[in-house]
Amino acid sequence: MKDHGTISRRTLVKTGLGAVAAPAILQILPAEAQSQTIKIGHVSPKTGPLAGFGEADGFILEQVRGILSKGLDNNGKTYKVEIITKDSQSNGNRAAEVASELILGDKVNLIVASATPDTTNPVSDQAEVNELPCITTNCPWQPYFFGRKGDPKKGFTWTYHFFWGLEDVIASFLALWDELPTNKVVGGLFPNDADGNAWGDPKLGLPPALAAAGYKLHDPGRYQLMNNDFTSQISAFKAAGAEIVTGNMIPPDFATFWSQAAQQGFRPKIVTIGKALLFPSVIESLGERGNGLTSEIWWTPNHPFKSGLTGQSCQELTDTYTKASNRPWTQPLGFQHALFEIAIDVLKRAKNLNDPKSILDAIVSTNYQSIVGPIQWTGVPVKNVTKTPLVAGQWQRKNGKFDLVIAENKTAPNIPVGGKLQPIS
């Protein structure tokens, strides 16, 4: 009698042994191929409160890996490139931990990271300590540079960053407000976190710049994140007669403030808030009340740049993304793409890929046209930072859909304006 259903003892032993041995063999393989494989380590928040910033990572990585499947040319030789990505879980300690795993465990040749000081700073610090080249983005440069106790005279050796700074936010907000006649009285909402303290800083933040431009800022003081009650701020703004509200908030805090403002009869003409109003999902969630809110703009599908890696225009990149993911585009998308563009450009130009110093030299000599604009570290504003253009704009509802319209471009005239600033009705 034959029984087809059962597995014979010998087959079991053979396959079983194979399964046991496979990981060991697999582990040996990359070690042997190490001379040919170049590794890029990548850290970003994929879970936790900052997950919105890492949302497009899956798409970006797939696109980049597709291009890299043919290998990377360097000095006439073709190398395999492997990207190892790790989740910071929106937590600075975790970001430092995975960065050190990438550097010491996976022995990556270059590390890249993005999204807020909670990711860029710990990763950069690990890279600096372990003397490994590192490129970061998506964090205003002051929290990145001064948050890491950088000295503008010396700078850092191994870590480089591209994004805009607080001075750009201030300039573009002021240019935006000049579009409408107001009484120039401004209410400020700054939380007690890295961003809020930098924005509200009486020496380097918004207060002196606004005063210089003739605006009167009422800043009741730093509130704690995840605030449940903005009554004291709202009554202070009402008493001062503020027609403009500005600040740097997280989405839940802004939503609380904005519904309380309506419930307590406070109706400003312009509301320009950093960070909270970046994502379309947040604006959608506010419904009718999202119409007319204004925010800083780092990147849109209408920016006049092209990817040096894929040749895509900004519009083409967002179209591919929305088609692949069925999700609305978000501003970090361009920067996530640019981060890998620059990493690959650096690896192509490095004289000796096995020497970290040589990769670092390639970073320093970067002169690249990316999807977020030209990238070249020239020492302005500081040695390790180069800036990308920043403008400001308004969420306008047309036919039931929200559109982020660029309403001023004084700070970056090469970016086309999309419409006029409307007061909040």
């Binding site: 879970t47 936790g48 409160p49 900052l50 997950a51 919105g52 949302e55 929106s90 007690n192 009741p220 003081g221 730093r222 509130y223 704690q224 994140l225 995840m226 605030n227 449940n228 009650d229 009554t231 004291s232 701020q233 009554s235 009402k238 008493a239 989405p251 839940p252 805090d253 802004f254 939503a255 609380t256 519904s259 309380q260 309506a262 419930q263 307590q264 009869g265 994502f279 999902s281 947040v282 969630s285 506010l286 419904g287 009340r289 999700r327």
Partner: protein
């Protein structure tokens, strides 16, 4: 007049804190279980309401008719299937299991709904407001929210002292083994308590989600006020929990009026002061 407004808004927020706290207070009173996942269950309720409002086209307050029973069912199943197995002499296992549950709920919601910031849209009632005096405005929604909180607490209190189920809760809370000897199935009693707790969580979740944005990660940040309200009011006392919530709301509002940086600090200081002077809380249940 400005101070009147501050205290008034503080009282209204206190209602929300009391709703966060009532469910916690209830299950701690009945089975000495500290539910770390309470905040995440609030967020879960908000997401269930989101699905109901989108699928059926009803407004969030109407969706409560469905969300409350669903959450109660989840509570019953959770207690029978999981938490009952962890209860015993040691307080640690249920604490650890609910901690794990909190992580599972957060990441489950992240998988299902992404990290998008959502809100329940209740339409015009959101911005409906009454002007009491020149500087005092009262929003309709905070008022309803406070009314519902008072009603929920009154309902729980009545249930505790006027019904057979309430008697079973109190008996089990006083002495579990004697209650069992008297023929009470404590597994069922515990599960009913958890069901009730999550029914209130459902209400709290929907009101929170109309008031502000939510995403899978915000639950635990809201939990601390619930705990503080329970401790201030006294463990196991429903009216005490409401009072605790209101005291917390007012002290935060007064702190914020002095300086926004003092808002949470003022709440924490009042909490610590009460813990130091009256560790049993302001209105403790008769100690057994």
């Amino acid at each position: 007049m400005q101070w009147f407004n501050v205290v008034l808004q503080g009282v209204l927020i206190g209602g929300l804190y009391a709703m966060f706290a009532a469910g916690l207070s209830l299950i701690f009173g009945v089975m000495r279980l500290v539910n770390i996942a309470h905040g995440d269950l609030i967020v879960l309720a908000a997401y269930i309401s989101l699905i109901v409002t989108q699928a059926m086209g009803v407004d969030p307050l109407t969706s409560l008719l469905l969300v409350v029973p669903v959450m109660a069912l989840i509570g019953y199943a959770l207690q029978r299937g999981l938490l009952n197995r962890t209860l015993g002499e040691d307080l640690l296992p249920p604490l650890l299991v609910t901690f794990g549950l909190s992580i599972i709920i957060q990441n489950g919601l992240l998988e299902l709904f992404t990290a998008d910031s959502r809100r329940l849209q209740a339409g015009t009632i959101e911005i409906l407001t009454f002007q009491v005096t020149q500087s005092v405005w009262v929003g309709a929604l905070p008022l309803i929210q406070f009314g519902v909180a008072v009603a929920a607490v009154a309902g729980l209190q009545a249930l505790f002292y006027k019904t057979a189920l309430g008697r079973a809760f109190r008996a089990t809370s006083d002495d579990q083994s004697v209650a069992q000897l008297m023929g009470l199935d404590t597994r069922h009693v515990f599960a009913m308590a958890m069901a009730l707790s999550l029914a209130i969580v459902a209400i709290a979740g929907v009101f929170l989600a109309i008031r502000t944005n939510f995403d899978p990660a915000i639950g635990s940040a809201r939990l601390i006020f619930g705990f503080e309200a329970v401790i201030i009011g006294g463990l196991g006392s429903m009216w005490g929990t409401l009072a605790g919530g209101i005291i917390l709301g007012i002290s935060q509002a007064i702190g914020a009026q002095i300086d926004p940086g003092w808002q949470l600090l003022a709440g924490h200081i009042v909490f610590l002061a009460i813990l130091a002077v009256r560790p049993q809380g302001l209105f403790p249940k008769v100690s057994g």
